[in-house]
């Protein structure tokens, strides 16, 4: 992600993928997110050296933020600056929550660190989206499960559930926002 290590062409390519994705090209958008996640991981690993077990969580949180805020990217602006600002914001947010957690649990035994995560699940993030999905209202959950997990289209989901196409879209949108909020509040 750093300007000094990232060749100019990377920035150009990612930007083009994002612009195409925002216009509705799912393949380009998938490639954008996949490439971006690699850059984000490297970027955050350096900046979260003291909390290595949190890197993957933060990568995911930043990806969700990039997705939910993609309308705030101005195509004339360097993509690197935009993504970095989001990643840094999410990092500060995480550190602040962590500090607040440590303050709350100060009186507890020093060996029992409630604020760090279990090292054993280092490969995958701690976020269990399936469990979080259960807490969403039915319409949002159903829309997300059909469209996001099973890959159905809006029309197919609408036909399957009897919901209107508009409410499917709204359900997905609100559900993803609610998921992001839940993930944020878990720590």
């Amino acid at each position: 992600m750093d300007d000094e290590v990232q060749p100019r062409s990377n920035e150009e390519r990612l930007r083009e993928l994002l612009v195409r994705g925002r216009a509705g090209d799912a393949g380009a958008y998938h490639a954008f997110l996949r490439d971006l996640s690699g850059h984000l991981r490297a970027f955050l690993r350096k900046r979260l050296a003291r909390l290595p077990e949190d890197v993957e969580d933060l990568v995911q949180e930043t990806l969700i933020a990039v997705h939910n805020q993609r309308h705030t990217y101005d195509a004339t602006q360097p993509l690197t600056a935009w993504v970095k600002a989001i990643a840094k914001y999410k990092r500060v947010d995480l550190l602040r929550r962590r500090a607040a957690c440590e303050l709350r649990n100060e009186s507890l035994d020093d060996d029992l660190d409630l604020c760090s995560r279990d090292e054993s699940e280092a490969v995958t993030a701690r976020i269990d989206v399936a469990a979080l999905l259960e807490r969403l209202p039915a319409r949002q959950r159903v829309s997300i499960v059909h469209m996001k997990l099973h890959g159905l289209s809006v029309i197919e989901t609408s036909r399957l559930t009897g919901m209107s196409e508009a409410s499917v879209k709204v359900g997905v949108h609100r559900g993803l926002n609610a998921l992001a909020a839940m993930i944020r509040n878990r720590r």
């Binding site: 509705g24 998938h30 933020a65 309308h71 705030t72 602006q77 935009w82 989001i86 995958t124 996001k148």
Partner: protein
């Protein structure tokens, strides 16, 4: 959940999005906010009765132009602060310039006036009233701009809140200037600025609490 699963999930959500969303949100917010401020001013305070006569005076237009110019600068700054990683560039100058201009006018007016009269130019006859009313009239815009900002992604929350407050204060002052009968540049330079800075300070304090995403 694995990151590649999350990516696959997000990648299916590719509704084409609105590239003009920032401009659209702020246009809506400022439209409603300015309407609210003007309505409250007209209904509760009343437009100054001598508006016709006043409109022939240069100072009336200066008094309107000052908060209007601050508001334009405020919009530029607020729009940039709503996008992650967008540099402010020269936009703060669009706020500083009208402020500098009114202070120059005020200094000129004070120099031309005899020392015994200067205090009257500064204090006017409605100081406390002006200081209380501009922040109150800024509330509709502050609420609307906060709404607009919450749908976007400010990353410097205190600064974004301060800019939103200043923008709201400028629109509040603009509405107030149609009611207020003070016509001295020093009064406007000091107390209109102070009236705008109160919501700006409130915004700086509230931003980190309200604007998080």
């Amino acid at each position: 959940m694995r990151t590649d699963e999350l990516i696959a999930m997000l990648a299916t959500d590719v509704e084409p999005d609105d590239p003009d969303v920032v401009a659209r949100r702020y246009a809506t917010a400022l439209g409603w906010g300015a309407f609210g401020a003007t309505l409250v001013m007209a209904v509760v305070l009343g437009v100054r009765p001598d508006l016709d006569a006043a409109a022939r005076l240069q100072m009336f237009w200066v008094k309107l132009a000052f908060p209007a110019a601050i508001a334009i600068g405020g919009v530029l700054v607020v729009a940039r602060l709503s996008r992650p990683g967008m540099p402010l560039g020269l936009t703060p100058g669009a706020i500083a310039l009208p402020a500098a201009a009114i202070w120059l006018l005020a200094a000129g007016a004070l120099i031309e006036t005899s020392p015994t009269q200067r205090m009257a130019l500064i204090v006017g006859s409605s100081l406390q009233y002006c200081l209380a009313t501009i922040p109150l009239l800024s509330l509709p815009v502050l609420a609307a701009v906060t709404w607009a900002m919450k749908g976007l992604a400010p990353t410097r929350l205190a600064l974004a809140g301060a800019a939103a407050g200043l923008l709201a204060g400028a629109i509040g002052a603009l509405a107030y200037s149609l009611h207020c009968t003070e016509m001295q540049a020093p009064f406007i330079a000091i107390w209109y600025s102070a009236g705008m800075l109160i919501p700006a300070a409130a915004g700086a304090l509230l931003g980190p609490l309200v604007l998080r995403w």
